[in-house]
Assembly symmetry: C2
Homo-oligomer: 205 residues x 2
């Protein structure tokens, strides 16, 4: 991918996050990326193909960053691995603030199932990874709540809530800058999610 294509992807993503796929026009993107309207069809084929290209590009970057995290270390306890996973996941996802929200919305739109395969694979990847993270704890008997589906729903959902609810939450938290908000997510929210899952897993009853 050349520089111009990356420029298009970058600005298209920004606009898609802000206004949604259907709420963003090719001309909006062309203007923002400072390219001719025809260049988008020229490089990507169509608006939908551009969406797909953004999906695969961003998701591949995510995969690479996640692998680079080296979450699994034999010396770590199951709980330590879980903490590493949650914090690394949020940090990695938060490199592009709003991306997770965008992926979730557009990947979930029922009328646009065309992009879903890439997104389903992405969800599958995260789910399999989480199951692997939880495995050790279940096997050695230190984790008691064996339901990866509900656990992943809570991790992803809580994080997603902080992206979709930004206006309200920033108001409540009295946070004015985006940087401060992202810091809150990577620190306080990370800790909250980890603690929540931790007490859930360790509770014996």
């Amino acid at each position: 991918m050349n520089e111009k294509q990356l420029e298009i992807i970058h600005h298209a993503e920004k606009l898609f996050v802000k206004s949604g796929f259907d709420g963003t026009s090719i001309r909006d993107i062309a203007k923002e990326a400072n390219v001719n309207i025809a260049m988008i069809s020229y490089y990507f084929g169509s608006k939908e193909k551009l969406l797909e290209a953004i999906f695969t590009y961003k998701i591949d970057l995510f995969y690479a960053k996640m692998e680079a995290g080296n979450i699994f270390t034999d010396a770590d306890s199951a709980l330590q691995t879980l903490e590493k996973y949650i914090k690394h996941f949020i940090k990695t996802m938060n490199i592009n603030p709003g991306l997770f929200q965008f992926l979730s919305i557009e990947g979930g739109i029922k009328k646009r199932l065309m992009v879903s395969p890439t997104f389903l694979k992405f969800k599958e990847y995260n789910f399999v990874l989480l199951k692997k993270v939880l495995e050790k704890g279940f096997n050695n008997g230190s984790f008691f709540y064996n339901d990866p589906i509900l656990i992943s729903a809570t991790i992803n959902g809580t994080f997603l809530n902080f992206q979709m609810n930004q206006v309200f939450l920033r108001q409540q938290l009295n946070i004015t800058s985006s940087e401060e908000y992202n810091n809150y997510i990577e620190n306080h929210l990370s800790n909250h999610i980890f603690k929540t899952i931790k007490v859930l897993l360790l509770n014996e009853e």
Copy 2:
């Protein structure tokens, strides 16, 4: 509101949930609701005003249903009130499956801040209600995790995740019908969310 207006609202909501606001045309709505295109402008003024009307209509219904729940009973413990709240919230919200997702997406779209006041009030309402639910437990010293913002993020987020992730989750859970899925949400998911918040609140460390 007369019968025809309700018909428009009903079908517009259905289509908005499926395809998003920008992904749904006035003609789509008119066709589905079996009315002339001009009737929408005639009754609601514009497409955006229709969106606003759906917001207020559905949210007002939600308020009424929530109040009818009579969550607060002096005889109940703080934990029992919390359980009632979570289960009643999900049951009420799930009367219109996908509505919470739709409200979250369209109410959060940054370029459409015009509808936000209604939605911000709705969030405020839910937040204040949850704070009231948690109050007793904090006051009598039985709850130890005093952070309503993060707690509400986990409750709402986990529930939202089950709406946005429907395709993937139904595949994982091997659920084929929508009814079965909604039952799962109102039973298993409700229990999961309650248990998660419960152990989080009761943990002393």
